[in-house]
Symmetry: C2
Subunit: 351 residues, 2 copies
DNA sequence: CCGTAGGCTGAATGCGCTTTCAGCAACGAC
DNA sequence: GTCGTTGCTGAAAGCGCATTCAGCCTACGG
């Protein structure tokens, strides 16, 4: 039982292989009667065109790729239930958005988490099979990027920008600016503390700069650095909240977190301490994960258009596929400040 | 700027293309000095082996495929927030599990939602590019399945079994049986009502049979059909709950739903009606979605090992890849009854 | 009835790689 | 010194398809 090829179908249908090929690639160029003969033969033999052969001959695979960081083995593994489902949702949503957009464009999607200890080798596996590659955050090294980037279109998603590469990211700065402004102007908060992510997270840093900008704008003292940092998990948020409460200085009247997970962790810690949110202290997050709506009080946050990130990735790849020498494009996707209970706004209100 | 090939690398390194190929496929067969020369040349040229050419020559792509039903445009689109995130989570988790397992085995994963109006064409796109294909639920037609199944390993996930095909599913029957038994034996409930899914959902029907079996076992009257059905959404659950409350017969003392979404909808409806859960009426779901733990009262349910489903899919595909003529294998994955508040159990307890 | 344009089809080539198979050098054992 | 051996490397033959080019046939105008 060998898998049938064009030759088999051609023989069965009494035509040449060129005609079989045309039936699939350019049906209109074949007379209807001939076409039916071929299709009947194909059905009978169980013929499916080989993607590899097609790819070789036509110099295009019809597949787009996505590399994303592999969280699973690190954080999610020991996170209790709900958390893990939420945590990985980010890449899931990007995958979903990208899959949809790719399909609309007639491309399939090849995905691969970048496991640190085999990144290079594995990258080639993916890169060699696709017409264009999207790379989420820092899921591959500078060197690998160069090798692949010279060969095919690559778009970077979130994280750091790289000269010469297309890039899509969300408006971290603007979102945090607007949210912080809301806290300062609308709620009259004056002693905000910022709990950031790792210093090497470009997204987290951009959010902090938005936080700074809001202070500048309001004429408040400029915070030089985040008041504390954490690894973006709920556990880190819990820890950060307690640390900020117990500082010697005056207690802050608002805790601004670099992401939702940390903010949710903080809510738990504050509840355990009996500190009322938002009455005594306001809390905000960033990301707009589903969990943010389910916690009590509901979490004020900045919603990212995660699925859109994937769709834009496809858009940029396709554009470059059509025109290899176009200028690198940076796309910043708008975010949405979602005012909920944890900042002192009553119900849900999306601005 | 054409993408470099083995020929370019071979020339640059002063060796033959066979040697270049060996450096990538079988490094030990090449002297270290030669290997280094080749790798240096490759790096300099930005060479990445073409997956298509490799696939053609070696008769294997090193890629596994997953087709899953495309929900997005139908339900999730108009579902409010949390729901959509939860809804699609099912396929997301399968994708994630499959991706992990595939990567461990050295395979990449090609995914494609099966959009109804182009199923056939699109299927071939995927099938032609992979060494093995996993198909989630009814995401492709009988006819397509036959064509593809003759060509390459195919494993069916959930849904209906097909003679001759490997299949992986969760223990719908056993899970519902055990859960229902718990309601009858441990909580002494006697008038349970079952709200099923669409009659053509094999999973839903299997769950109902488990529900029936528990009645048989306890010597209670055998329910012939589900008391009502819905489309597995929260809205349907709301509707079903009200319908079951307002029937002429005696009010049931427990509502058993075919999935969590419907059960959650029911909880909302009951709360609105002022019917106490679980005091007046117990409620249970099936699936173990994250949301089930977040609602109040927390939902008693049966947890599916969704990610495991994807991992098992890979396992079955690999096994068949190694031995094409092995007997079709049906793998039933164990589920976990999770007793929470909505059935009358106090805190969380997983049995 | 001939010439020609247009619509279909087939022969042939090559896409970039893997994989025998043969060749060749160095090296012992005899 | 000869004859395997062992260890690498190169030549060459496809893998299954897309595509070009030429050829055929039909239909049509003259």
């Amino acid at each position: 039982m060998t898998t049938p090829t064009v030759y088999d179908v051609a023989e069965q249908a009494g035509v040449s292989i060129a005609t079989v090929s045309r039936v699939y690639r350019n049906p209109d160029a074949v007379r209807a009667a001939t076409r039916d003969k071929v299709l009947a033969a194909a059905r009978e033999l169980g013929y499916v065109p080989s993607g590899s052969a097609r790819g070789l001959a036509s110099r295009a695979t019809g597949v787009l790729g996505l590399c994303f960081p592999d969280f699973h083995d690190t954080e999610a593994e020991h996170a209790p239930g709900a958390e893990d489902a939420e945590l990985v949702l980010y890449s899931d949503q990007v995958i979903r958005g990208m899959e949809r957009a790719a399909r609309r464009q007639g491309y399939a999607l090849l995905i691969s988490a970048a496991h640190a200890d085999q990144a290079g080798r594995q990258l080639a596996e993916v890169a060699g099979r696709v017409d264009g590659l999207a790379v989420l955050a820092q899921s591959l090294t500078e060197e690998d990027l160069d090798v692949v980037g010279r060969r095919q279109p690559v778009v970077l998603l979130a994280g750091e920008r790289h000269a010469g590469y297309d890039h899509a990211e969300v408006a971290n700065f603007d979102g945090q600016l607007e949210l912080t402004r809301h806290l300062i102007v609308d709620h009259g908060l004056r002693r905000l503390a910022f709990a950031g992510g790792p210093a090497d997270s470009p997204d987290g840093e951009a959010r902090f700069r938005g936080f700074q900008a809001a202070h500048l704008e309001a004429g408040l003292p400029l915070p030089k650095t985040p008041d504390t940092r954490g690894d973006l998990t709920q556990a880190a948020g819990r820890k950060a909240a307690l640390e900020l409460l117990d500082r010697d200085e005056a207690m802050p009247d608002g805790l601004v977190f670099a992401n939702d997970q940390m903010a949710v962790g903080a809510l738990h810690a504050l509840e355990a301490r009996g500190v009322a949110v938002p009455d005594v202290i306001a809390v905000t997050g960033f990301d707009g994960i589903p969990l943010s709506r389910l916690v009590r009080p509901t979490l004020t946050t900045v919603r990212q258009p995660t699925g859109l990130l994937g769709e834009v990735a496809v858009e940029l790849l396709i554009a470059r596929l059509h025109q290899r020498d176009r200028a690198a494009e940076v796309r910043v996707l708008p975010v949405t400040v979602t005012r909920r209970a944890s900042c002192g706004c009553a119900g849900e209100r999306t601005v």
